[in-house]
């Protein structure tokens, strides 16, 4: 069973992604901060991390992505950034930090599943 880590500071969004992924056969982990994301990434080595780019109050998604991708233990995790739709700068910053792909908010859950299936093959 593939492991997916969801990282977003907002409880509702985490819940939305979790419910969305429930229809597939995945083991879902959740983190509400960049720091927690790094901790879980190291412990569980998820195949996929869905990471929000903006997380007020602590380490943001870009920083966490950079750290995870630079750590030999976790660099093989695929990271999809959740960005704001139409913000080119967000996308570029995401790729620069090492993200593998991006997905824009607001989103259709069906499309998110399609993207996840595409990435996890």
């Amino acid at each position: 069973m593939k492991k997916i880590l969801i990282v977003d500071d907002q409880t509702e969004i985490r819940e939305l992604v979790e419910v969305t992924l429930r229809s597939g056969d995945y083991q879902v982990f959740m983190a509400k901060s960049g720091e927690k994301a790094i901790e879980i990434a190291r412990a569980e080595k998820p195949e996929l991390i869905i990471m929000d780019i903006m997380m007020p109050g602590g380490m943001n998604g870009l920083e966490a992505t950079r750290i995870i991708k630079n750590d030999p233990e976790t660099k093989d995790c695929t990271i999809i950034m959740l960005t704001a739709k139409g913000q080119q700068a967000d996308r570029e910053a995401g790729f620069e930090a090492g993200a593998d792909d991006y997905f824009a908010k607001p989103f259709s859950p069906l499309e998110l599943i399609r993207k996840v299936e595409e990435v996890l093959g």
């Binding site: 509702e12 969004i13 939305l16 419910v19 997380m55 109050g57 870009l62 908010k105 989103f107 859950p109």
Partner: protein, 371 residues
């Protein structure tokens, strides 16, 4: 012969006077002005340009422009623009400001002067204008738009996502359906508030203003009605309310006043620890602080928190449109409009609002409304 000499003297005098007049005009023009010939040699430079570039025109007459400019980047930029020999070549450059964190931003713009008959370029005027303030405002607007966009997308994500889940999925429990519907409902309200804030501010901007619906109300009620919402969403917070013994009647737009209280409280909570104390104090004060000359009274409301506080620099900007204390990705949510709207509403009631704060200790926002 004498007539000739007289005429020549007169012509010389007129020319001299014309030149003095032009010199006078150039000296007093606030923007820097440099005129160069087609070989980029300096023909004319006014006092403002001398000061900006820290050079003296007298030392530069007919010298290549290179000698006027110490900064390499600026020299290259200016030469590149001059070499194009066009009008409205433009570029920004920085000059040291009061401190390293606050450089001045200058905009240099070129204009060609052509000979009337041959249409050949004879010289180029470069005007240097201080645009520090404009660029600052542009930057704040861009940041504001990006923050506003983010704030709008957050509720929209819940609304779009959960509604689609409810429509397409058959495997949800009854509790889950109910929960998701309430999320959609709550976020729709949140969205409405954000949109209202944005509209309020754009109305303030265009100075159409909004109409006040003043009515008689009891000061205590206006304040007390607002508290429960905040107390509920921050249960660990202790919100104290102190009011005068006798009820005080105010003639104000109740809804707008409550918006003022909500905006201030919202900030206080945002920048305070979860289990902190916030004091809301209402009291009658002599109307010394207001423009009114008559000895009358005013009602003063103070909202005091024990949060992170602000530096004097931050306090100075707190009412500016689009200003947010922290715009990094790690900043708490907000559009930076709350206090702009607060000041506008208070001033429309002929009142005054101000902020006292100490970094690390806390912030107190006070406003007075005439009774």
């Amino acid at each position: 012969m004498k007539e000739r000499t007289k005429e020549l003297n007169r012509a010389l005098y007129d020319t001299q006077e014309a030149r003095d007049r032009i010199d006078g005009i150039l000296k007093s023009v606030g923007d820097g002005l440099i005129v160069t010939d087609i070989y980029n040699r300096v023909i004319l430079m006014n006092r403002a340009a001398e000061n900006l570039l820290d050079v003296r025109f007298s030392e530069l007459i007919e010298q290549p422009i290179d000698f006027a400019i110490q900064d390499d980047t600026l020299r290259d930029q200016l030469k590149a623009t001059l070499d194009k020999k066009e009008t409205d070549g433009q570029f920004d450059f920085k000059l040291p400001g009061e401190d390293t964190k606050h450089p001045r931003i200058m905009c240099a713009r070129t204009s060609v002067i052509k000979d009337r008959t041959s249409e050949q370029t004879t010289s180029i005027i470069t005007i240097i204008h201080d645009v520090t303030h404009e660029r600052e405002v542009e930057l704040m607007k861009t940041e504001f738009l990006s923050t506003a966009a983010h704030e709008l997308r957050t509720p929209l994500t819940s609304i779009q996502g959960f509604s689609e889940i409810l429509i397409t999925r058959k495997d949800l429990s009854k509790e889950e359906r109910r929960k998701f519907l309430s999320y959609i409902n709550k976020q729709a309200s949140s969205l409405a508030m954000i949109v209202n804030d944005l509209l309020d501010v754009s109305r303030i901007e265009s100075e159409l203003g909004f109409a006040l619906n003043k009515q008689k109300c009891i000061a205590g009620d206006v304040i007390k009605d607002v508290i429960p919402y905040f107390q509920e969403s921050s249960p660990k917070l202790k919100i104290e309310v102190v009011l005068p013994d006798k009820p005080v009647e105010l003639f104000v737009d109740k809804e707008k006043m409550q918006q003022v209280l909500k905006n201030i409280l919202s900030n206080a909570i945002k920048y305070s620890p979860e289990d902190s104390v916030i004091r809301v104090v209402g009291e009658i004060v002599p109307n010394l602080e207001l423009v009114d000359n008559e000895r009358s009274s005013a009602f003063r409301i103070s909202i005091e928190d024990r949060g992170i506080g602000m530096t004097p620099g931050q306090v100075e900007q707190i009412f500016n449109k689009f200003y947010r204390v922290d715009v990094s990705d790690s900043a708490p949510e907000g559009t930076g409009l709350g206090m702009t709207i607060v000041r506008y509403i208070v001033e429309m009631h002929d009142g005054k609002v101000w902020v006292e704060s100490e970094p690390g200790k806390g912030t107190t926002v006070k406003f007075v409304i005439p009774i």
